[in-house]
């Protein structure tokens, strides 16, 4: 691990567990913040940094950039919260109870919810209410869409200026038919049948069941790993969910879901990283497996090199301008990404590559 990586994890752990930063001096802030941006937690680290005193403190120029991260994020959360409040209120008037997915719900699990970055509102309404909910929500002031009822198999998108809202009829798409059927049953249990009601500072919202929050957060991180690159933010989300719900989870149910979706091995490998690098207490990591350390080391390299949405990938950063060269570049990118992933989880990466390869071929033909 490089000195900047060591400093990054020291600061990240301080932020996640709301503890003072210890033993950090001469921080390489430029490298640390570059890493934080790539992993989607620059706001979290900025908050720690601006409160620091003494030798490790950032320069005035860096502090000013951090303040703008913090204020920008607050502004964006304010607008998203207003959109969420309006949407939830409108749907309730029509007897539809949406379940809030991802950003807002996950933020509540952090010591300071204002610091967990997210850029959209995700509402799950299910299959039965999907079309009605889309029709209602497109009438909200400031909303804009392209007239399509369904943008993807999973959700419908409405833009409120630069802030999107995704209305989900399913929470995730699973490529293979058997896995999709299993996932649908898990979704029924965790989203349709057992949502939890929580108070979000004056706004009561529905969240998935605690088990589904943990499972889905991990599943989302895993999906990122297989498709677009996973960052430390997604892995931190799983750690925060496990910590917040420690002692309240039906572990047998969680074990069953992970086993049925063939995710127990990835779960244990990610878990090793959460314990070793993010500081999640081992007792709070269900099904912890110390033997995962070798694969975990390879996953660590993948996560650190790739970042959230492959932001850290050199391959992604250099796109040729020529249309055909651009397409070829993307095509090769799919293959290179596969090689990186295959070093960690060969069979899972191969399955995903088969799917992505087919999609890339279709794209090239367009």
């Amino acid at each position: 691990m490089s000195p900047a990586e060591t400093q990054y994890f020291t600061l990240l752990r301080a932020a996640l567990w709301d503890k003072p930063v210890d033993n950090v001096s001469d921080v390489d802030w430029k490298s640390v913040m570059k890493m934080a941006v790539h992993h989607g937690n620059n706001v979290l680290l900025s908050d720690v940094a601006v409160r620091m005193e003494g030798k490790g403190k950032p320069s005035e120029k860096m502090l000013s950039r951090m303040q703008s991260y913090l204020r920008g994020n607050l502004l964006s959360q304010m607008r998203l919260r207003q959109i969420l409040s309006s949407a939830v209120s409108l749907l309730r008037e029509h007897k539809i109870e949406p379940v809030v997915l991802k950003g807002f719900g996950l933020a509540l699990l952090y010591p300071n919810p204002s610091l967990r970055q997210f850029g959209d509102v995700d509402l799950f309404v299910g299959l039965d209410h999907f079309h009605e909910a889309c029709d209602l929500l497109r009438t909200l002031p400031g909303g804009y869409n392209w007239g399509n009822r369904v943008d993807s198999g999973k959700h419908f998108n409405i833009e409120f200026g630069e802030y999107p809202m995704e209305i989900h009829r399913v929470s995730a798409e699973v490529n293979d038919p058997k896995g999709a059927k299993t996932y649908a049953a898990i979704e029924r249990d965790g989203l349709y049948n057992n949502p939890q009601r929580v108070d979000m500072e004056g706004l009561e919202i529905s969240l998935p069941s605690k088990e589904f929050m943990v499972f889905f957060t991990f599943f989302h991180a895993w999906h990122h790993f297989l498709t677009s690159g996973v960052g430390w933010r997604q892995i931190s989300d799983v750690a925060m969910a496990l910590h917040a719900y420690h002692g309240q989870l039906d572990l047998e149910k969680l074990r069953q879901w992970l086993t049925e979706m063939q995710l127990m091995k990835p779960w244990q490998v990610f878990g090793y990283l959460m314990v070793e690098y993010l500081g999640l207490p081992q007792t709070e990591m269900p099904f912890y497996e110390a033997k995962s350390h070798r694969t975990a080391q390879r996953l660590y390299c993948n996560v650190t090199q790739t970042g959230n949405f492959r932001r850290n990938s050199r391959f992604k950063q250099r796109h040729p301008k020529n249309k055909w060269m651009h397409k070829l570049h993307s095509f090769i990118g799919v293959f290179v990404d596969f090689l990186y992933r295959a070093r960690v989880f060969p069979s899972e990466a191969f399955r995903e590559m088969r799917h992505s390869f087919g999609m890339a071929l279709k794209k090239m033909g367009k």
Partner: protein, 89 residues
């Protein structure tokens, strides 16, 4: 008077910021930076009925200052909160 629903006090770094987040504040893009004292007062009266005297008493109790000094501090603060729509009569 009363704090308006939908206004939430956030702490980022060393700053306290009052943010208009709720449905009642919809379309109102307000972020007010508060100092530590103002943040303490907001927390104390948030969601409750209060008047200028309530704030004055809180300041006198917390910092042991005279009534005149407290009134001097409270007047501009209330003006800011009113102007931004964070409190209602």
């Amino acid at each position: 008077m009363r704090t308006k629903k939908g206004y939430v006090l956030r702490t980022i770094g060393k700053e306290y910021i009052l943010v208009a987040e709720g449905l009642e504040a919809s379309g109102n893009s307000v972020m007010i930076s508060l100092n530590e004292t103002a943040a303490m007062l907001w927390k104390a009266v948030d969601g409750k009925k209060f008047d200028a005297d309530t704030l004055v008493s809180l300041l006198m109790d917390e910092y042991g200052i005279t009534k005149e000094m407290a009134e001097k501090d409270v007047a501009p603060l209330l003006e800011t909160w009113k102007k931004s729509g964070a409190i209602t009569d």
